[in-house]
Symmetry: C2
Subunit: 243 residues, 2 copies
DNA sequence: AATTGTCTGTCCGAAAGCGTACATAACTTT
DNA sequence: AAAGTTATGTACGCTTTCGGACAGACAATT
């Protein structure tokens, strides 16, 4: 029962009709996802997929100098490991837990078999993949056209959207690494945001004070991505399946 | 017969086993794709997909100021209109023919019905989509880390890979617009490349003189994307189905 | 031959971000 | 309490790119 309730914390699982979820139930394991956990590495076979509930996972690309840049994040709106059903034997990207929490783990065989039933889960997974792609593409053009302040606001908002709390445990150094810029730049931008009263800083913790202010400073990319994510789920189903 | 031969110019169609291709044959129309043709616009229902043979199509995102930035290109290695089978009612992106040529048009219903047979075409399309996503993500991090010269070399090489000829009809102004930078910057970079003897310029036409030189100047992103595209196709099948 | 439009090369000051470095503050360990 | 570690703020000169502008070269038209 408890399990049943928690399943719905992941939007994809929540949207499944009861019968579909029933089939997966025995194979879905609630697991803790500690910060830094490597969900999958590049060029390795993926054995499980993860449906985060409270955890946030970064999808990262490695550069020639070894640094890891974030291309997208996955929280309770999605699934980690799409290449499993998209037919990539292995991925270029890595997935690492950025914000500790929980999620449901499902072995690859079960996912594939459910995927090939061609039911609602398949439709959901394909639509999610398309949404993820849109998010990456939007981030691409955002990088080109918008200031670091705008980009950071977008990034923060996307994080907070996926977090139960309104404070984020991360250092400026880590943000800089994920975004592929220098820490000094993040420090400057983040200090500005604090000075304007939009956020609060506290040694490795960032909290929102004025969400609307943040949205106003962010570029339109945030709204575009968010709209896309909201469109992903057929609204009627979310509640129906939540109980 | 002629048709049969031309079908194989698109790698996805070429890879299909004869029986699958047979089913689609009557619905596949060879069409001319003139430069500037809008394959699909944003927020509109997609009615057809296109398998380019000699044409190159840009996938574009519109910015708030109305400019259109390229997030990826599709040539004979792919298909234009993935959101049709990925379940997006409409896309954020637009698709416009950048390099005139030909391609095969397939109506959405046929594609969907073949997709839902869950045969090789479905596998191919899903893998292609994953590859496209990888290409976008790689471009994202490339934008962040690499110089304009490296990026332009990558871009040129990706274009030439998809072209039958080794010369490209495009002005520096148009390149700048696609990449989201000023024309003056493209002019500078491109002049350098010409001075080094890597390319030849001629008022709206760019030709490669030294491909290896270009590859050497490009960042590793080019090789990564290219490897990914090559991996897409099961090699054995390409020849088998070409005749 | 003259005119007009397009494509290209270049220049300027301004802005954003890099690379590096250093200092302070806070927390942790001893 | 002292020492070490981590997180942060900030400063300096440098490079890349922006934004805007201008002029020359070529092409098409008349």
């Amino acid at each position: 029962m408890n399990t049943r309730h928690a399943l719905s914390q992941n939007h994809l699982l929540a949207t499944l009709p009861a019968e579909d979820r029933e089939r997966l139930l025995t194979d879905l394991e609630l697991v803790s996802m500690p910060r830094g956990q490597i969900i999958f590495d590049s060029d390795t076979q993926i054995r499980h997929v993860f449906f985060p509930t409270t955890a946030i996972v970064s999808l990262l690309y490695e550069m020639e100098d070894g640094s890891l840049l974030e291309v997208a994040m996955v929280g309770n709106e999605g699934i980690v490991g799409i290449s499993l059903f998209m037919g990539g034997e292995a991925t270029v990207s890595r997935a690492i837990v950025q914000s500790a929490g929980h999620g449901y783990r499902l072995n690859g065989r079960s996912l594939k078999s459910e995927f090939h039933r061609a039911g609602l889960l398949q439709r959901l997974l394909l639509r999610y993949t398309l949404t993820l792609m849109t998010e990456i593409a939007q981030t691409l053009v955002c990088n080109r056209c918008h200031s670091m302040e705008q980009q950071l606001c977008r990034w923060l908002l996307l994080r907070f959207d996926r977090l139960p709390a309104n404070s984020l445990l991360i250092t400026q150094e880590q943000i800089a690494r994920l975004l592929g810029v220098r820490r000094a730049l993040i420090s400057k931008v983040v200090s500005n945001l604090r000075a304007t009263g939009l956020i609060k800083l506290d040694r490795g913790r960032i909290a929102v004070l004025d969400r609307e202010g943040l949205e106003a400073k962010a570029c339109e990319c945030y709204a575009l991505i968010k709209d896309r994510l909201d469109l992903l789920l057929p609204k009627e189903n979310v509640h129906k399946s939540a109980q």
